[in-house]
Amino acid sequence: MERPVELARMEEGAGITRAGVHLAVGVFFVVGALLNGENLLATAETMEHGSPARTVCVAAARPLAAAARALHLGAPRRAIEAWVDRISAP
């Protein structure tokens, strides 16, 4: 019987060290938050008014959105969204 993929990979020692994973995850969240900062803020603002989750999300997203605007990091996403809107217009 074929070895389950998750066990085979574990036995092979596939992947990278834990420190490397932490670095990759950290970079992912920082870069992802900056590239999507303006959308994160817009999404957070649509959450239920007065809810603690909204307060936390808006507080976290506001500086990200400001940084993304200052560095023009929202431009790639806006360009893709404009392209999608164009091709899906009736």
């Binding site: 020692g13 834990r18 950290g26 992802g32 999507n36 996403r77």
Partner: protein
């Protein structure tokens, strides 16, 4: 808390950080994981925590009592009580409304008052998944294949572990419990596999499943009488691909997230839309449920040990009950019965045995896909009347209004996404892991941004949350 949302991203950053900071202190680590999982689950409705907490205490109590009991009669009584209490809980939350409505209808037709009260019972998210996990834990202890968890805390973490809590995969205690009881975090993490699983899962959900749902499936299935044959046909094809992308996306993301935290879950999907028979389909689709049904229902019913007629009956019954697992409704029952019937017919005709030539394999894939679509017409439709309206629409040849390039591209992308199932993307996983760690993080962020930009605004709940 849905995976592809800001709320989950914030939650995951905190859960991931706490998990890795505390993993060398097992007791604090377990309490932290339990608290994080309960926050994740209680975010829907804090009252659900009473249910999962009660289920934890009850099932662990049964398991410990089973391990201590020596007399076969007492052990049988304990396991029967555990199964009955789990099925009773599931039955009340999931099937009470359906049962009462049908009793009301029967009583009304006989002209007698219905003795049962109508209650507005809220269906707790993921109840079917964690109840099945809890049941298999007690049954496995009864069978002697596992020992009870070392503590109730270990079992509580196992049952509530957030990546797989609300929509599977149904990870058996024999797989996950040892990883919780003796946390030996791996020195190396399979980040290539985790990243690809999460990104492909997000693509399947945010882009493909949402595009198909809004572009063709929901409009046609919600108003079947308004559309002609081609729209209906493509909506059915679209739903086959949507339900695969939606459900496998959740499993992929769950497996990927668990992997980043050092846990190993078994795969749940293996390119099911390429199955050339229903036997093969059920070896590729929702594997954690199909193997659960096999081990805890089909085998106890007798499996294939008896006559051909008995085997067919066992198979059929297993799938009828598997259909009902998805929800209380005639549509799910018919869907399960159809799959049971397809499997029985395949056994009789000996379809799907042996190696197939390419033309026969392609014919088998096409036939299985179309029969799957037929069964899903019942599964997805709001009412049985809508299912029949869909079938009538297939005979009305009018110009399609919803079959657009976007819909066709989404269908093609969803079908192609099966190339990442199982271990087919092994080379890509390894290639990804060879990049410097910061490049991996940045690349994943860029791909995520593209996925979010390609998808429709907003994220619909995963289909399998309702089960």
């Amino acid at each position: 808390m849905l995976f592809p949302t800001v709320t989950f991203a914030i939650f995951f950053v905190l859960a991931y950080t706490g998990h890795w900071l505390l993993h060398r202190r097992p007791l604090a680590w377990k309490w932290f994981l339990l608290a994080a999982s309960y926050v994740f689950y209680g975010y829907w409705d804090w009252r659900f925590l009473l249910l999962i907490g009660g289920s934890t205490v009850l099932n662990h109590g049964f398991a410990v009592a089973l391990a201590r009991a020596a007399a076969p009669g007492r052990r049988r009584m304990l396991v029967a009580a555990a199964v009955a209490s789990n099925l009773g809980t599931l039955g009340f939350f999931k099937y009470y409304g359906f049962f009462v409505v049908n009793v009301y209808a029967a009583c009304a037709s006989l002209g007698i008052p219905c003795p049962l009260p109508l209650l507005d019972v809220v269906l707790p998210v993921g109840i079917s998944f964690f109840t099945f996990q809890a049941m298999s834990y007690v049954i496995d202890v009864h069978r002697g294949t596992i020992r009870p968890a070392a503590s109730c805390l270990d079992f509580a973490v196992y049952l509530a572990f957030f990546p797989q809590l609300v929509a599977g995969p149904i990870v058996r205690a024999s797989t996950l419990l040892p990883q919780i009881e003796r946390p030996a975090m791996p020195a190396r993490i399979d980040i290539g596999r985790a990243s690809i699983l999460i990104l492909v899962g997000l693509f399947k959900k945010i882009v493909v499943a949402n595009a198909l749902a809004t572009g063709i499936v929901d409009p046609v299935f919600d108003n079947p009488e308004n559309f002609g044959a081609l729209d209906t046909l493509f909506a059915v094809y679209g739903y086959c691909i949507q339900v695969y992308c939606d459900f496998s996306a959740y499993s992929d993301i769950a497996i990927g997230i668990a992997l980043l935290m050092g846990f190993h879950f078994p795969i749940n999907f293996d390119a099911p839309l390429l199955a050339a028979s229903f036997q093969e389909f059920w070896r590729r689709w929702h594997l954690s449920l199909s193997t659960w049904l096999r081990d805890y229902l089909y085998f106890p019913l007798g499996g294939s040990r008896g006559s051909a007629a008995r085997t067919s009956t066992n198979l059929f019954l297993t799938f009828v009950l598997g259909g009902l697992w998805h929800g209380a409704g005639w549509n799910y029952l018919i869907w399960g019965a159809l799959h049971g019937a397809f499997l029985v017919v395949e056994r009789i005709l000996r379809v799907g045995t042996g190696v197939l030539s390419l033309p026969r394999r392609l014919a088998g894939i096409a036939a299985t896909f179309h029969l799957l679509g037929f069964s899903l017409m019942f599964f997805r439709a709001r009412t049985l009347g809508d299912s029949f309206a869909l079938m009538r629409s297939l005979a009305e040849w009018t110009a399609p209004t919803l079959v657009s390039a976007t819909v066709l591209a989404a269908m093609a992308a969803g079908f192609a996404a099966q190339a990442f199932d199982g271990d087919r993307a092994r080379r890509l996983w390894d290639a990804w892991a060879r990049w410097p760690a910061w490049v991996q993080g940045a690349a994943a962020a860029v791909i995520l941004t593209v996925i979010c930009a390609l998808g429709p605004r907003g994220v619909a709940p995963f289909i399998y949350f309702q089960f």
